[in-house]
Amino acid sequence: MQEMLINLAYIVASILFIFGIKMLGSADTARKGNLVSAIGMLIAVVVTLFEKGLSYEWIVAGLIVGTAIGAIAAKRVQMTGMPELVALFNGFGGLASLLVGWAEYTKDEGHLTPFTATVVVLAILIGGITFTGSMIAYLKLSGKMGGTPTLFPGQKVFNALVVLAMLGLGGYFIATGTEWALYAVIGLSLALGILGVIPIGGGDMPVVISLLNSFSGLAASAAGFVIFNTVLVVAGCLVGASGLILTVIMCKAMNRTLANVLFGGFGAASGKGGAEVEGEMKAMSVTDAYYVLEAANRVIFVPGYGMAVAQAQHAVKELGEVLEKNGAEVSYAIHPVAGRMPGHMNVLLAEADVPYEQLTEMDDANAIMPAVDVAIVIGANDVVNPAAAEDPSSPIYGMPIINVHEARTVFALKRGQGAGFSGLVNTLFFRENTRMIYGDAKATVNALVGQFKD
């Protein structure tokens, strides 16, 4: 009876997850959708506590510690640090699935059926890759580790051998139940997460997180098979499948395939690849920039990760307002993959209270670009690199970009002369109509606002 009620509640929870994901996909319902899925989670967790034969000391302690850490982290994080926090959370979920699989093994040591042994191996393997992979993504996104891909000779062969060894040992464990084989699988899966993500450039981390999110769903699903729990299987599988679709959508926004993202070593080719750059970078002072802006009728901001780093979103909004007061038409062009995560810039500008109507998507922005007097590029790089459109030898050739080079004048706000996160030289900076304004983006923008106010 009790078990039936629990399972009925699991069905309700699963329905709420389905509606939740569906609602998260459209702007009007997204926040409610998140709440709906949270209620589903609450139901699933609460009814599980009524499961027969549980002792509660460890459970209560775990719930308290986990809730405290999770809540504090979510409250404290800056909006700019959002991508790496999601990576961190995702890694924790993966490790949790690994541990659930392992704990089940210690329970009936050596007496697993071949099926249970198989799903234990799957939960451990996928969970382990998700954990270390997400940690590397976290390190790259937070700048604690360089964004350039780490490549070494024979890397693909080496990784393939690790995969084979892992699968072989997994099979050996399933067939014989040998303990050390399981530990070897744990170790190799953790190693594989690292090996798989280090050759991927920092600019591609959003796609990696999305894919690893899909993995963590599958790991949960595998853990569900281990303990024969329906809601784990359903919810995990939903995330696994929808996460994969989201990953593909993201790749399409960059006009690349998933395989190219994972195995392309994108961004390692700084220096080589891409035609010789002609012209030189021309710097401009804030005062001169002010005179140009003062006369401009149409200004478009193109933000990138640099704006997030400089925490310049509020200053940018203020400059936008001043320009409007001065009679200019102001809008913000947002590339689908600008920042470290898709929609990252939308979140930041929303935080700064930029009116929704002023945010334009790439295609709309490109349509009006030739009529724009000044395009202000703030810490964006690859997403405005004309080489993507013009230079077939460039590694990013074919990626859709915001065509700021078609505007009459381009201001590029940049900290220094170095290449972008992906390591590529941006030919935009060498164009006739581009002016570089060096320095901290926030300081520069504030200085421009000051000029208008004087």
Partner: protein
Amino acid sequence: MELISLLFTFVLAAFLGFELIQKVPSQLHTPLMSGSNAISGITMVGAIIAAGVADGLFGSILGFLALVLATINVVGGYMVTDRMLGMFKKKGH
């Protein structure tokens, strides 16, 4: 038999998941990822069972660690997604 029905459920859920999201505006990619990441914390349910029924200290510790990590994933994931989406709502109206 129970196993078959579980596999059956898995397959249906996979197809449903593939159909669930199709055209998502790019500004919602991050919240959607973060929100579904919170759902993948469902492994918390497995962790509760592992922490509660494990016999032997080692098994209990594994279960406890799993529960802490999964709870961080769930609580943090939902809260951070809500914060993000709250900012979207503010604008315009």
